[in-house]
Point group: D2
Amino acid sequence: MVNVGIIGAGRIGRVHVESICTQVANAKVKMLADPFMTEETAAWAKDMGVAGVTKDYKEILADPEIDAVLICSSTDTHSPISVEAIHAGKHVFCEKPIDHDVEKIQEVIEALKNSNVKYQVGFNRRFDHNFEAVWAAVAQGKIGDPQIIKVTSRDPKPPCAEYVKVSGGMFLDMTIHDFDMVRFLAGCNAEEVYVQAAVLVDPAIGEAGDVDTAVITLKMENGAIAVIDNSRKAVYGYDQRAEVFGSAGMVATSNDTSSLAVISNAEGVTGEKPLYFFLERYMAAYAKEIKCFIEAIEKDTETPLGVMDGLEPVLMGLAAKKSFEEHRPVKISELRK
Amino acid sequence: MVNVGIIGAGRIGRVHVESICTQVANAKVKMLADPFMTEETAAWAKDMGVAGVTKDYKEILADPEIDAVLICSSTDTHSPISVEAIHAGKHVFCEKPIDHDVEKIQEVIEALKNSNVKYQVGFNRRFDHNFEAVWAAVAQGKIGDPQIIKVTSRDPKPPCAEYVKVSGGMFLDMTIHDFDMVRFLAGCNAEEVYVQAAVLVDPAIGEAGDVDTAVITLKMENGAIAVIDNSRKAVYGYDQRAEVFGSAGMVATSNDTSSLAVISNAEGVTGEKPLYFFLERYMAAYAKEIKCFIEAIEKDTETPLGVMDGLEPVLMGLAAKKSFEEHRPVKISELRK
Amino acid sequence: MVNVGIIGAGRIGRVHVESICTQVANAKVKMLADPFMTEETAAWAKDMGVAGVTKDYKEILADPEIDAVLICSSTDTHSPISVEAIHAGKHVFCEKPIDHDVEKIQEVIEALKNSNVKYQVGFNRRFDHNFEAVWAAVAQGKIGDPQIIKVTSRDPKPPCAEYVKVSGGMFLDMTIHDFDMVRFLAGCNAEEVYVQAAVLVDPAIGEAGDVDTAVITLKMENGAIAVIDNSRKAVYGYDQRAEVFGSAGMVATSNDTSSLAVISNAEGVTGEKPLYFFLERYMAAYAKEIKCFIEAIEKDTETPLGVMDGLEPVLMGLAAKKSFEEHRPVKISELRK
Amino acid sequence: MVNVGIIGAGRIGRVHVESICTQVANAKVKMLADPFMTEETAAWAKDMGVAGVTKDYKEILADPEIDAVLICSSTDTHSPISVEAIHAGKHVFCEKPIDHDVEKIQEVIEALKNSNVKYQVGFNRRFDHNFEAVWAAVAQGKIGDPQIIKVTSRDPKPPCAEYVKVSGGMFLDMTIHDFDMVRFLAGCNAEEVYVQAAVLVDPAIGEAGDVDTAVITLKMENGAIAVIDNSRKAVYGYDQRAEVFGSAGMVATSNDTSSLAVISNAEGVTGEKPLYFFLERYMAAYAKEIKCFIEAIEKDTETPLGVMDGLEPVLMGLAAKKSFEEHRPVKISELRK
């Protein structure tokens, strides 16, 4: 049985509490920490079966019975708490991104050297049944050598301008998941990025210094070309698709829906929209990534997504930003220190 | 080059004129006959490239240059003109049904004995690309032994009560195509029929002594069970599907649409309705059946649908009628003479 | 919080233990009873959070802290334990069928009179997301008046002959779920049943006195015609579909798959097979039916599936059996006492 | 009745002969010209109903009874024959591209000034039922303002190196159709092009100085971002899809297949591959573009695709070439004279 401490009781922290309490047989949430811990949250946690709550995450790090921590706090705390937790000998599951600053990620990489700590980054989409099946088809050679990789990733509604300002920009906030997906499906790192982006959804996003629509082309190290298209607003719901085209075929996936019911009438033949947003679409994936993390601890194996998998998408995001600003293709190597 | 005479310039006669003039390279329409031949029809025929028109179909039978006739006149004339044409040594393509009366069909069968005439019945759906592909999968053993055969056949709008009265009833007018389809896909004759039917679309159809909705179960000679569902009114268009389930798998087909465009919006994900009715859905099939008829003449081979293929669906229709009237399963053998 | 006792620790009993322990927040399994309770099962139950185990279900009925029982024991015990539990004042969730004998079900109906006990029958498919969506479309009038209802229900592999002998026959063992589905989608009872059935899958099933392939036609009280097709062996997996055709349109559902990945290669365009069998397809439905049962207790409302919903499919199954034996349409009223 | 002369009896010239002879009621092929006119071709043409053949296309231009010419000769002759035909007062349908050299196209534009000649360029895909439906959805505002336009265009097999050398390169030979499609769906011109391309299919193509795989990003004048992905070899057949994402929804189309039959077996659920190549996929589109050309002549209206629609995709192709060579985004304005 793995004892877990969860740092951060926001939306994603609570998702992990629920997953562990109901779906991960061999783990227990021993403590949930949040600086703004309310009585409601404490009561909810108790109800879910969490043993204790605290306002101070350092209590979790100090608890010798806790084996592993999940870092679900605000992005700027991910890397320092990662380092602290590693030094405290806790296995770490860290929400994405580790940091927007490559040097901060380097500090985590340093801390991991000579430690026996397991480290996993929270790119949940790799654990989605559809993307896993696409990946498996590629990995099993069913489509031959990958040549063109396409990822569509569109949110159902744009974030507010306040959020946009502190988000690090669309490429580091939203596309970062797609950068990870491209690496996952290609089976290698990106070499170069080119961005064509615009503000087409909400002028307030532009005023906040960001974009809301983009097509991003990538050259991968294995020679494949990848392309991501992003929008902050798809009126029909969360659109998350992938297609890998290769020398021996193509594999593609469409969106999950709440049912397969299709109505035929005088207007046409109508099926359901994609599931609304990430909480609807990826709930099972969130549980699965934690199961894999716990399993890596128990079996003393590599986690499926190590710290380098946390670094690369950030480099890709920074390169994308630079490509947009300088209106030219940017090599990832320009961003490596 | 095969010279063809077409008897009947109604809707289906004109479809065949068009097919032959534009799509059948090795046939020519030498004469088009219709007792109500108008100047407009004659002008249209000339325009299409038809050599001559007449009000008297006997002119066609008497013309030594005409090799084959297409009988597209009213149902009650199909069998007598068939017999006349056979005696005149013309190859015959006869629209379905040959007759509603089994004895009349027997007369055609008799006439064909000791003749060298090719005879083909107009069950056009066998030549539809979708049903052909279903049939091919079955014939090639891809689904093993057929066990359950399902045919859905629904018209987009009911006929008027006037038509219903002279139609011979839904089973002989509409379901007859589905009876043929069941034989085609099963690869054998039916042994027994049971009908559950009702008037759910239009009370006027009931007043005319007919039904408009039915589910018809059949036991086939090879042991498979077949089921047909019919409605005279599908608001979403002409619904023509088939499914064959067998010991090694299943093959099924859905409906053709005018395009594959799909719109995703806040209401759902909407594709096009099925093509509206038989003229839209089966235009290519009408041309193909004539091509096959002409080919059978040129190559002196069997037509794909002989006179016995005209008889069996009529027997099935008569059995269905009896089943409905007597509310019991009826053996086809009860109808055979 | 509702305290539950579960009677029967076989496959389905364990499914309910798991559902309640992990997904039903407001219920607890206080005791699990099974005459063949093993140490392994007891250990597993403890692990899941079940408070106690016993070999004697009467302990559950005698426990004043237990509010509700789930009867998951062998079919022949469903009705007597139902009656006992009702007399003990326990709310009852009873697996299908209540009994194959209508008189036994009548005893349960009698016991329920003048009691305040909630009674629910385990027709889990009503809680499947796909069938719920089909039902909702019908209930909301989206397809107008139902006219033709089609249910396809095919198992991936046939049961062994031993099981067949004690199963009550395919109509009461397997089709009973489809009879319930037809009532659910039609919104009314059946009036008449006609069966065309055969042994096409496994001769041993025929030797055991049963059939393995059937098409069953039903006339519903609202005038709609329903048709069920069954096979004990679909090589491509568990095939569970429904289609309702009505005056204003059609709603249909296909099968869930483990992913939406589709591979295009030189052989064709291939998606995944349906989920293998009921444990894969209906896991969420099993949890949902229990949630609804618990909710009906907590809110003191009607359960979604009362004892009469347990009776009707049994009558339909008995009528189907009679129809097959006597080779004629059988009215449900012939079976009512 | 419009009298047509066809210049060039190669593959596409013969496609147009067939279309006009069988499907375009109000046009006749009066003469077919080809410098390598063989007896076989002459016989075939006669059989199809073509009045005369010649080795010298100037006979066509000199024939006062011929109203319109179709230029289907080799690419380098398109612009000079266009100019000659315009001066001869013939309406012109010219296969794509008019020329690879912008100045040559300018000469055609000049020749058209002050003439009454109709001019149409052969971008046949605009007349495909699927792309027409996508375009119609956009044009009718069903998806709001277009924001992201995606075109997939992959050939089933690569051309031989000989062909590649004289083809003008993939962007002017193959992608040119996709550039037209992007303009068609966006409803405006492109502003900028960026290419990421590679040789992944056949090294011989690289040795011939060309690429075989590409992702091309475009900024359109209306602000939308477009992306084309190309491959010279899709093992599953001709892959021609489009998707337009906008402020109010998305419209997308998949590929036509030879039938809708789907086989379910132990391996999965398999439908047919896309139609093999352009002759299979676009046969109806080829006929429709000619019908529209003839109609524009008869009704004295604008052709659907004028000379400027011939110029723009060439500019886009040249910009793409430059982008690939200089590895940077290239503005279309850099290519305009």
